[in-house]
């Protein structure tokens, strides 16, 4: 199994969610996150005081998939979250040892 993690622009979440559903993913986890990449932050002005806001709001999506689906799924996520502008985010995958479905106790790919 693989854990695919995508950190993307918040307003692309719906597109990515729809694309994952179309792909047949059964479940995912979404977290509000903040961070920066090469684009760094932006400047905000409050009564003339300019603040550089380093950490930009992002959304982190996590999906568990079987090994053979991983590459294809990464492509789907990248395609759905891309705007072509700076700050589009990153997608990566890591191997996963175990997964358990809490309700039934099923393990491994059966738990997905």
């Amino acid at each position: 199994m693989k854990l695919i993690t995508a950190v993307i622009k918040p307003h692309r979440l719906d597109e990515v969610k729809d694309a994952l559903q179309a792909f047949g993913v059964q479940g995912l986890t979404v977290t509000e996150a903040s961070g920066y990449g090469r684009q760094r932050g932006h400047t905000e002005v409050y009564r003339g005081a300019e603040y550089t806001v380093d950490l930009v709001p992002k959304v982190r999506i996590e999906v568990l998939v079987e090994d053979e689906d991983a590459e294809h799924l990464i492509e789907v996520v990248v395609k759905a979250s891309r705007t072509g502008k700076i700050g589009d985010g990153k997608v990566w995958s890591v191997p996963v040892d175990t997964a358990v479905r809490v309700r039934t106790g099923e393990r491994g790919p059966d738990a997905l």
Partner: protein, 442 residues
């Protein structure tokens, strides 16, 4: 008794009342989330403290029979000698109770205005004591000078229709004095101190603007043409001031900010307060534009000069108040304007500034050197809401929310401990020893 006037003044009093919670939202949205409740409470508590003081002796000191032009007397302690049939100004007057209630709202608002300058860093008990003392020895006398028959600025014919001098200059300069005693917030100029809720700021500004119709038009104390002029100008001046502020910001910082729109409107309201009954709508536009542009520049002074007037009470209320108070001397269209009047306005503005600054500074020093004005450093950094109010402003997270059952159990078992104040003051706050809100004493 004039029924129309009475009804108008009573309604105006209720409108002015809403300005204090409006101010609480205006300021509360501007601070960081960790001390948001404290900021709300600093305004709100004034409705408790000053309302009571006003009845006990405030009304009497401000509007009792004059003593030497500087203060009233004690004839109306506890509103003694006034009943439902007592009228102001003869048979066609309004009940003194209506007048006293209306003026009470001004006395409540004025100390609350100063709270924004001291955001995020003072002990709540010390603040309560400060505004009680400040109302007593600064506001009540100054209100007498300006508005009571026999008051020396009143007799000098200084125009302060609704409180540009007595309220805004007075609170603005008092706030500056207190800031100089209390000092800067930790992290001033280094840490970002972004407003935690601009929608709340906008809501507060809207409530202030709404209430200000009572504040300004109600000051006519009659449902007449003066009140109507004032009401019109109370809409026009803040509108123009909003444009003035936004224009300055767009040129200087490249954006039309929400905070700028709200601040500009308030600056315009401040500036029109002393002037609105004596200028026409074109004069109100001019006053508004100038106040908006000038105040948007003035709020940057604190960074250059190094005083931490956190929410710009000086930049908005003092500067806006001075602009309105001086300009009415020039722009008055009812025959009052001219060089002579301008001089009188300057005397009024600067005498109140001198008195209020000196006495406010002394009061702040007195509190600083006795019970201590400033919160503990750790508490300031962690946020004042939990230490002084034992509450959190927002519980937006599903994780780490408080557990009511557990809290009750702790209280029942007698394990609730009272927080030991190292400085010995009696804030009386306690925090339950639950995992979620346990204070770590250093």
């Amino acid at each position: 008794m004039n029924g129309a006037d009475t009804a108008f003044v009573l309604i105006s009093a209720a409108l002015v009342m809403v300005m204090t919670p409006g101010l609480a939202f205006f300021y509360g949205g501007m601070v960081r989330v960790k001390s948001a409740l404290n900021m709300l409470m600093m305004s709100f508590v004034s409705m408790g403290i000053v309302s009571v003081l006003w009845v006990l002796y405030g009304y009497s000191l401000a509007f009792g029979a004059d003593n030497g032009g500087v203060i009233g007397n004690f004839d109306h302690i506890g509103l003694k000698g006034i009943d439902t049939t007592t009228l102001t100004g003869g048979d066609e007057g309004i009940p003194v109770f209506a007048f006293a209630l209306f003026q009470l709202m001004f006395a409540v608002l004025t100390p609350a205005l100063m709270s924004g300058a001291l955001a995020d860093r003072v002990k709540f008990s010390a603040w309560g004591l400060f505004i009680a003392l400040w109302a007593t020895v600064v506001y009540f006398p100054v209100a007498h000078w300006v508005w009571a028959e026999g008051g020396w600025l009143y007799e000098l014919e200084v125009i302060d229709f609704a409180g540009g001098t007595a309220v805004h200059i007075n609170a603005g300069i008092g706030a500056l004095a207190a800031v100089l005693v209390v000092g800067r917030r930790i992290g001033f100029r280094d840490d970002p101190m972004r407003p935690h809720s601009l929608p709340l700021v906008m809501l507060g500004a809207a409530l202030l603007w709404f209430g200000w119709f009572g504040f300004n038009a109600g000051s006519a104390l009659a449902a007449d043409g003066t009140a109507a002029t004032m009401a019109l100008n109370t809409q026009v001046a803040p509108g123009a001031a909003m444009l003035g502020w936004l224009a300055y910001e767009r040129v200087r910082h490249g954006a039309f900010t929400t905070l700028g729109a709200a601040s500009g409107a308030v600056a315009g309201l401040v500036a029109i307060t002393p002037a609105g009954a004596h200028v026409n709508a074109m004069g109100a536009i001019l006053i508004g534009l100038l106040a908006g542009a000038a105040c948007s520049w003035a709020v940057s002074l604190k960074y250059k000069l190094g005083y931490d007037d956190s929410l710009d009470v000086v930049g908005v209320h003092l500067v806006g108040g001075i602009i309105g108070t001086l300009l009415v001397g020039i722009l008055a269209v009812d025959g009052a304007g001219g060089a002579g009047q301008f001089g009188k306005q300057a005397v009024g503005a600067f005498s109140v500034m001198a008195y209020s600054f000196a006495v406010s500074w002394l009061l702040a020093k007195l509190i600083q050197s006795t019970i201590g004005f400033r919160a503990d450093e750790d508490d300031e950094v962690a946020g004042l809401d939990q230490v002084f109010h034992a509450e959190t402003a927002y519980d937006a997270s599903a994780v780490g929310s408080s557990s009511g059952v557990r809290g009750t159990a702790v209280r029942g078992s007698g394990a609730l401990r009272t927080r030991g104040n190292s400085d010995g003051s009696s804030d009386g706050s306690s925090d339950g020893s639950t995992e979620t809100n346990q204070k770590v004493d250093a």
